[in-house]
């Protein structure tokens, strides 16, 4: 059986967690249908062969480009897929991964399935499941071209979790015309909303941007929590668009989503309804968010937030 190529995303010399999850998905498929799992780093990186092997890779190919070039990275992936005879290329559905998905498909004359949430092999080949209409529905699709490219949404797949050390091989990097010249506004400490395990998200019910420290304090009390926001507060200029969750923002699937002062407009629900556990805190007992919440608390967010933060801190200290 042909091999599977997983294109890794590297930031600050580290492979991103979503790429390790993609390796796990590739491992599952390779175990079922045969073939190897190749991991490709398109930038210079010192790969952790134990971690990548454990997540699912048999071999790690390192193309030592100095800086990320989207077209260069895609050209490297297309060349390597051809040389190695891989018929399936998987990526994490991050912003970079989504961008590479279509480019690699162009180079391989392939169809692509972006943002997949499930992936299975059956008698007819591969079946990809992906949300459409921002999660208001899902589609099962088959890629009908000989080669296929798919990106996998973060937090829907698991690294293989095995004990295995991958081998390493260096391969040449292709040059691109576009290149990343600078990384600005790096957010230290807090993970991005699209990848976080826990999201604390605020809406109009918080009253104004001056009350956001209450939400930040709650996020600080939850290790690994990111901040999210509703479209209303982003449009009002209270919060940056990078935090917006929903149809014209980010689609998220954390283990825990805490919606504070968010009524639950359909565009917002579409972006977060695949969260494992949803907590809603809202003054209005009739707010649509309560129909989607695992646990709801009716009341003033400004009174409830400090109590919740305090209780979490006490629980951790105890």
């Amino acid at each position: 059986m042909a091999d599977i190529l997983v294109v890794l995303e590297v930031r600050d010399g580290k492979v991103r967690p979503a790429s390790l999850q993609a390796l796990g998905a590739a491992r599952g498929l390779a175990d079922a249908r045969g073939g190897r799992v190749l991991a490709l780093a398109t930038e210079a990186v010192e790969p952790d062969l134990e971690a990548l092997g454990g997540a699912g890779a048999d071999e790690v190919l390192v193309a030592g480009a100095e800086a990320h070039s989207p077209d260069g990275a895609a050209a490297t992936a297309v060349r390597v897929a051809g040389e190695e005879g891989a018929d399936l290329v998987l990526l994490a559905a991050t912003i970079r991964g989504r961008d590479l998905c279509g480019r690699i498909a162009a180079g391989l004359e392939a169809g692509f399935a972006p943002d997949c949430t499930a992936l299975e092999a059956d008698g007819e080949g591969l079946l990809f499941e992906r949300p459409v209409y921002a999660g208001k529905a899902r589609m099962q699709v088959r890629i009908r071209t000989p080669k296929a490219v798919a990106s996998l949404r973060p937090n829907f797949f698991q690294p293989a979790g095995r004990s295995h050390s991958a081998t390493r091989r260096d391969v040449p990097a292709e040059e691109g015309k576009a290149r990343v010249v600078e990384m600005k506004g790096r957010q230290e400490g807090r993970p991005d909303v699209a990848e976080a395990r826990i999201i604390v998200s605020g809406g109009r019910g918080l009253g104004g941007p001056e009350n956001w420290p209450l939400l930040e304090a709650l996020a600080d009390a939850l290790p690994g929590a990111a901040l999210g926001a509703s479209r209303a507060v982003v449009d009002a200029g209270w919060r940056p668009h990078s935090e917006q969750v929903g149809q014209t923002g980010k689609t998220v699937s954390p283990e825990l989503y805490i919606a504070v002062g968010i009524s639950g407009a359909i565009q917002h629900l579409a972006g977060m309804s695949t969260s494992k556990v949803i907590v809603a805190i809202n003054k209005d007992a009739e707010a649509p968010i309560f129909q989607h919440a695992t646990y709801g608390v009716v009341g003033d967010a400004l009174e409830i937030l400090p109590k919740l933060t305090e209780a979490l801190k006490a629980a951790q200290a105890g």
């Binding site: 930031r11 990320h68 989207p70 077209d71 991050t94 912003i95 961008d99 590479l100 998905c101 279509g102 498909a105 162009a106 392939a110 169809g111 692509f112 972006p114 943002d115 992906r130 949300p131 459409v132 209409y133 921002a134 208001k136 529905a137 899902r138 589609m139 088959r142 890629i143 015309k177 576009a178 290149r179 010249v181 600078e182 990384m183 600005k184 991005d192 668009h241 990078s242 149809q247 014209t248 825990l256 359909i266 565009q267 309804s273 494992k276 556990v277 309560f290 989607h292 695992t294 646990y295 608390v297 009716v298 009341g299 003033d300 409830i304 109590k307 919740l308 209780a311 979490l312 629980a315």
Partner: protein
């Protein structure tokens, strides 16, 4: 500056999605269709760049059914100079790779400095059309752009990636896909709407051929297990915390 913009007719984001009788597509009954919101940012940026350059043209392309003329008229009313509808009834349900091939075929051989796209269409959320068209045309592409500068034959763009902002440079001709935040799209003025009626809108029949991706089924999202109201006000906090720790086990 010659700028091309690719746009799509999509259901409004307020649409309640119902699966159609074929079990594979959206039931269009009662659905309001609009210009894809991200395409509005692309059109606006194209118009601003042309206005700043003081010369050139903006031409809009759409791969769509006959009814997509409405969205192309909207783009003309905003200020684009001409529009081309690549007409096929198969367009609305087309996968990203098929759409990209049709668009690349239509744009090949045209002279342009820049091609703008919305970063994704809010129907099938495929994200890949802009980068794929650019790759098929052999030009660079910068996607999900929130700030754009074109000068001296070069594009400098900023894009929000997880955990920061990338600054990317590429030479012209180049493709760019627009993210929310790039600009505030203008509304078409009455004068613009009147003028749009006289602007050229060419209709070209296209055959997308065999789809690269086949839809097997479409279904509602998996149902969520029913939730419950834990309580009211700050007094509910201890019980909420207990449930998160002991029942949901997420803390």
């Amino acid at each position: 500056m010659e700028i091309l913009v690719c746009v799509k007719r999509v259901p409004a984001t307020t649409t309640r999605v119902t699966v159609g009788p074929d079990g594979k597509s959206l039931d269009p009954t009662g659905v309001e269709y609009v210009l894809n919101p991200y395409d509005e940012f692309a059109v606006e940026e194209a118009l601003r760049l042309k206005e700043a350059a003081g010369e050139g043209s903006v031409t809009a392309f759409s791969f769509g059914g006959a009814e997509a003329q409405k969205e192309l008229r909207t783009v003309l009313a905003m200020g684009a100079d001409a529009a081309v509808l690549l007409q096929s009834e198969a367009a609305a349900a087309a996968d990203g790779a098929t759409t990209a091939r049709v668009l690349a075929e239509a744009l090949r051989g045209r002279s342009f400095d820049l091609i703008l796209f919305g970063k994704q269409a809010v129907d099938l959320d495929q994200h890949g059309v802009g980068p794929m068209v650019a790759t098929l045309l052999g030009i660079p592409c910068i996607s999900e752009v929130v700030a754009l500068e074109v000068a001296d034959g070069k594009v400098t763009a900023e894009r929000e990636v997880e955990g920061g902002r990338e600054v990317v440079e590429a030479p012209l001709p180049c493709a760019v896909t627009a993210q929310k935040g790039l600009n505030e799209p203008r509304y078409a003025s009455l004068k613009g709407i009147m003028a749009a009626k006289k602007k050229p809108l060419e209709v070209v029949e296209v055959d997308p051929g065999e789809a690269a991706v086949e839809v097997v089924s479409m279904s509602p999202p998996p149902p969520r297990p029913p939730g419950r109201i834990v309580g009211e006000g700050p007094d509910a906090v201890p019980e909420l915390l207990r449930l998160l720790q002991e029942e949901a086990k997420v803390l």
